[in-house]
């Protein structure tokens, strides 16, 4: 005799005949994703780990298995500390100034004005993200060109009476990589924050107005608290994505002058593909994964994501 609970379980699971069908469904629905994940995520990591324990270099020949590459990472590579310091400035600066703060300002500003104008401005800010990175950086190169023809120099010289053209790529390279990345990065925060702001019930703003709040008080007491989750998410997500992305920097400054704008990910690239130290590049890349995981966990802890992800006990309308 089956109990009611058993019957319910059977009811929910379906009957015995469908076991085979469930297996087929598993293969059909999850198979492609699993293949792709293994092929493009698991296998590369395994290869990376393997390569990092070899002396693979330009000759593409492995003569020995060694932990030499890790000794380099932790002991002998003196440039690495400078690279990590720069990466911190780059990631933190881009996040703090653009991806979160500026994204937030854009979202608040474009939702406060008329819908049509708001959408227009958000569209404008999305343009660089939609254009190919090479094209985007080409425009930047024109803008900061150290000659009199450069856009910024034209403005400075003709409108502000500057005497000689500036070479921003040499004099302010770190600021440039932060700004060029930030202009693109801000759009993601903008979109996520805009959606979150839109979902705040209007009656809360009415209540705040009745209670005596002005525009800034409404932003501080209603909008920002409601954005806690999106802000945490954007911060963690963008930290990780900034840690590993380097294409704009490579295109704009090539990591130079010298190593001045070589962030960690770009350093990996330069070591592996410019100097041909594939083994060392692999070890560096693996260390970057470790850094990424640590940063993500710290962020998770710092923002108390666990609590934020809990489901509310009572539906709030």
């Amino acid at each position: 005799m089956t109990t009611i609970a058993d019957e319910l379980t059977i009811e929910r699971r379906g009957h015995a005949g469908s076991v085979a069908r469930r297996r087929t469904n598993f293969v059909i629905f999850l198979g492609p994703a699993i293949i792709l994940t293994v092929l493009f995520f698991v296998v590369p990591v395994v290869i990376d780990v393997a390569v990092s324990f070899t002396d693979l270099s330009r000759s593409l020949r492995i003569s020995e298995f060694t932990t030499e590459q890790y000794e380099k990472v932790f002991r002998t590579d003196r440039r690495l500390s400078q690279v990590i310091g720069l990466t911190f400035i780059y990631v933190f600066g881009t996040l703090a100034i653009f991806n979160v703060t500026f994204g937030l300002i854009l979202a608040v500003a474009t939702t406060a004005i008329r819908n049509a104008s708001g959408s227009f401005f958000r569209g404008v800010w999305l343009l660089p993200r939609m254009s190919p990175s090479v094209l985007y950086i080409l425009l930047w190169l024109w803008a900061v060109s150290p000659t009199e023809a450069g856009l910024i120099n034209q403005v400075l010289m003709q409108a502000f009476g500057l005497d000689a053209p500036l070479d921003l790529l040499t004099s302010a390279p770190i600021a440039l990589i932060i700004i060029s990345n930030g202009f693109i990065g801000a759009s993601m925060g903008m979109i996520i924050f805009t959606a979150a702001i839109r979902s705040i019930p209007e009656h809360l703003y009415h209540a705040a107005a009745v209670d005596g709040a002005g525009t800034f008080a409404k932003i501080r007491f209603i909008t920002l608290p409601a954005l806690r989750w999106p802000i945490s998410f954007v911060t963690i997500y963008q930290t990780l994505s900034l840690l590993v992305s380097f294409e704009y920097i490579l295109l704009l400054t090539k990591g130079g002058p010298f190593y001045d704008t070589t962030v960690y990910a770009l350093y990996v690239y330069r070591r592996a593909f410019e100097s041909g130290q594939y083994g060392y590049g692999a070890a560096l890349a693996l260390f970057l994964i470790v850094i990424g995981v640590v940063v993500a966990l710290l962020g998770w802890r710092f923002f108390d994501m666990e609590r934020l992800l809990q489901r509310p006990r009572i539906e709030v309308h």
Partner: protein, 354 residues
């Protein structure tokens, strides 16, 4: 406390005129209800009082001062929203404290006032909770405390009971009414529920399509509804309204004929179910349906003038479906309206047919 006055107030949203011309005076300390179906402009009027909407024309006065352009935050009104609109990330204490933040109330005094307000609506033991940890009734009380803590000159209640269950609604009704009696603050209640309006308010403003249909005490609206709309809106179960033609002191409604006094032409006769009784005299009919309602029984009777609802006292049905009965009523309880203009004809009555 404030005396409120609408003078030829107009409100348009784009091309849509929601309120064409509103004139109304609410006395200092009065409890009035804006009653009407959805879309009648009652919430729009409330939002204009709160300053959330700005009138498109006319003048809105608080104590004789035009406040059309006065911002919400400078009006010192307390509002309880239909959804309560409690700040979800703040504790109950911070929610109630919130209005005092902007009044630069010293911290000690502010906290004392929060405690007093919480005591008043009996949520003192909930001060450290979040709104999501409260039941609907508790959220409602907190919303009331937040509206009252700043000692508003005007209290606005937007459908405050519509999200509560039936028994809670009953007790909140009593509590809001006694709070008003205690504090004496001018209060405007917006509701589509005639029972809420008649039980709580001193005066009811019945609205329809942006216009006032009738202003009066609950008794006025019930006993002397000025129009067919008000007659149909007030009273539960709804009034029986039947249209007919009057000639030579007799009104013919479908197949039934009644003596009528004080009116002629196209008339609509209104008979409330609770004023009808099944007895030995009156017009004949056959009971089509019986709906026991506990203390009362609602009979739907097929008569010569159509289906008529009759509400009888008593818990057990004294009659059965299909039974032939006679329905009588007292002449003074009958209402007679002009069908064309939909207006009540004062002093006109119909009598039971003999």
């Amino acid at each position: 406390m404030a005396k409120i006055e609408f003078r030829n107030v107009v409100k348009r949203f784009g091309a849509v005129e929601v309120i064409p011309d509103l004139n109304l005076v609410i006395e200092d300390g009065e409890f009035v209800a804006l009653l009407g179906p959805s879309g009648c402009g009652k919430s729009t009027s409330l939002f204009m009082l709160a300053g959330i909407y700005v009138p498109s024309g006319g003048e809105l006065l608080f104590d004789g001062h035009v406040v059309n352009e006065v911002e919400t935050r400078d009006r010192n009104v307390g509002v309880v929203f239909q959804s309560y609109a409690l700040y979800p990330h703040m504790s109950v204490r911070d929610n109630i404290l919130f209005p005092l933040r902007f009044k630069k109330t010293p911290r000690d005094e502010a906290l004392a006032r929060v405690t007093a307000a919480a005591d008043l609506v009996r949520v003192a033991e909930l001060l450290d909770r979040r709104p999501s940890e409260l039941s609907g009734g508790q959220q409602q009380r907190v919303a009331l405390a937040r509206a009252l803590v700043k000692e508003p000159q005007l209290l606005l209640l937007d459908e405050p009971l519509s999200n509560l269950d039936a028994s809670l609604r009953l007790s909140m009704r009593t509590e809001i009414k006694s709070l008003h009696a205690q504090l004496g603050v001018t209060t405007v209640l917006v509701t589509h529920d005639q029972i809420e309006a008649t039980t709580m308010a001193d005066r009811i403003i019945c609205m329809r399509a942006g216009r006032i249909e009738q202003v009066g005490t609950p008794d006025d609206l019930y006993l002397r509804p000025s129009s067919l709309f008000v007659a149909g809106f007030i009273g539960s179960p709804p009034i029986n309204l039947v249209a007919g033609e009057a000639e030579d002191g007799m009104v013919t409604v479908n197949g039934a004929r009644f003596p009528v006094e004080g009116a002629s032409g196209s008339l609509t006769v209104g008979l409330r179910p609770e004023h009808l009784r099944i007895g030995d005299t009156g017009f004949a009919g056959r009971i089509a349906q019986i709906e026991p309602m506990g203390r009362e029984i609602l009979y739907v009777v097929e008569t010569g003038m159509g289906a008529v609802r009759v509400l009888e006292q008593g818990s057990s049905a004294g009659h059965s479906t299909g039974e032939q009965v006679k329905i009588g009523f007292l002449s003074e309880n009958s209402l007679v309206f002009e069908t064309e203009r939909q207006k009540l004809i004062a002093g006109a009555h119909v009598r039971e047919p003999v």
